[in-house]
């Protein structure tokens, strides 16, 4: 009888511990890192660039460093806003003098045609988008890389 009571109490304590564990979240699923793809799906290009722009910028600079081709200027990753489509279409790494690069918030992409040759002008601007009538171009800054976020 005593033995039965003892086992009953042990089983009770075990059950209590397990219940407490479940309630308290001790059996939480392992955390998963949120990647660029997840952020793209949820928030689109602007949020992805805000969250991962710094990492992408360092990634590009490190790769260039390995090829002994790093740019001497300041660099930054910003969204590309297509004037024709009226939407964000990707991202760009801009480079130039630090004070000017700091002012750049986006790159405006405009369709060009030089004779029969079609192309895209890439203009660093001091705003995130280019919804106004004029572009706030930041001089002394150019594009070092473009980032296609749709693969």
């Amino acid at each position: 009888m005593k033995r039965l009571r003892k086992w009953t109490i042990i089983a009770g304590i075990t059950a209590l511990l397990m219940t407490a564990g479940i309630i308290s979240g001790a059996f939480v699923r392992p955390a998963q890192a949120v990647g660029l793809g997840d952020i793209l799906k949820i928030g689109g290009i602007v949020l992805a660039v805000s969250a991962f722009g710094g990492q992408i910028n360092n990634f590009i600079n490190n790769a260039l460093g390995q090829h002994e081709a790093a740019a001497a200027g300041a660099t930054k990753v910003v969204p590309i806003f297509s004037i024709g489509q009226g939407a964000y279409i990707g991202a760009a790494q801009v480079l130039g003098v630090p004070a000017n690069v700091r002012r750049v918030q986006g790159v405006a992409a405009i369709q060009l045609s030089i004779g029969n040759i079609g192309g895209t002008g890439l203009i660093p601007i001091s705003t995130r988008s280019a919804k106004g009538s004029s572009l706030s171009r930041v001089s002394g800054v150019g594009v070092g890389a473009i980032i296609d976020l749709h693969i």
Binding site: K6, I9, I13, L16, L17, I23, S24, G25, V28, L36, G37, L40, S50, G53, G54, I56, N57, F59, A63, L64, G65, H67, E68, A69, A70, A71, A72, G73, A74, T75, G90, Q93, L95, G96, V97, P98, R103, Q105, L112, I114, G118, G119, T120, L122, I123, T127, R128, S129, G132, S133, S136, G142, V143, G144, A145, I146, I147, D148, H150, I151
Partner: protein, 252 residues
Amino acid sequence: MKPFRVVLLLAGFVLIPLVVKNLQAQPSATTSPAATPVAATTQVTVNSRTMTLNGQSVGEVLVGNNVVLRIREAAGGYTAGQRAGVVATRLTSYLSQGMSWQSLSVGTFNNQTALLMGNNLLVTADPREAALNGDTPLQLADAWLGNTTDALRGVTASAVAGSTESWPDWTNATTKIVPIISAGTPGLQLGAAQVTGPKERVDTVKAVLELDLVFQKTARIMVFIPSTQIASLKRVQGVAVSALLQYRLFKF
């Protein structure tokens, strides 16, 4: 019986605080990102100051050492400097409530374009203020959003380490069109690029070499390197791309 009661009591003493503690801890695991208190942002110093620019008194709001927005106009009985002080106080207050750069957005407040934090007004980008900056209210608010976001995130335009040469000012800037050559497959022409920079440097550029990279299997990166040689990478510092010709910008 007595020993069993003691065991049960001890188990109760151990378990009840554990359960209560963990139940209290649960909500923080499900807090939305927008309201996540970030240590780095709560430690940021927000200040305002009054400066004189071109003989005019302006108010500036600083996050750390970065000027994130400048107010040139007096309004509502406040000087520009006092308005900057109000904005700095608001920003400090919102940060102390646990908001971060993720809560920033451009929206409307009382039918005016404004920089918001959560649903709260940070600063109004009124048309007169925007006109003084040569912007529309939306452009001005966008610029303030970018500056404040970068400053709160601690993002600065970082110069590349390991480089001994500084980036030149583009005082005598010019442009030139050169072929884009694949760095991975020498000789393969991918299009043409317009490069821009100081004339003496642009003159030395023979091609733009394209280096292809992939980031996190999600982003394809095309890096453009102005080079003095077509067959090998010899970067010309101070020159960058301003347009891509006969080049499919994105492959989707």
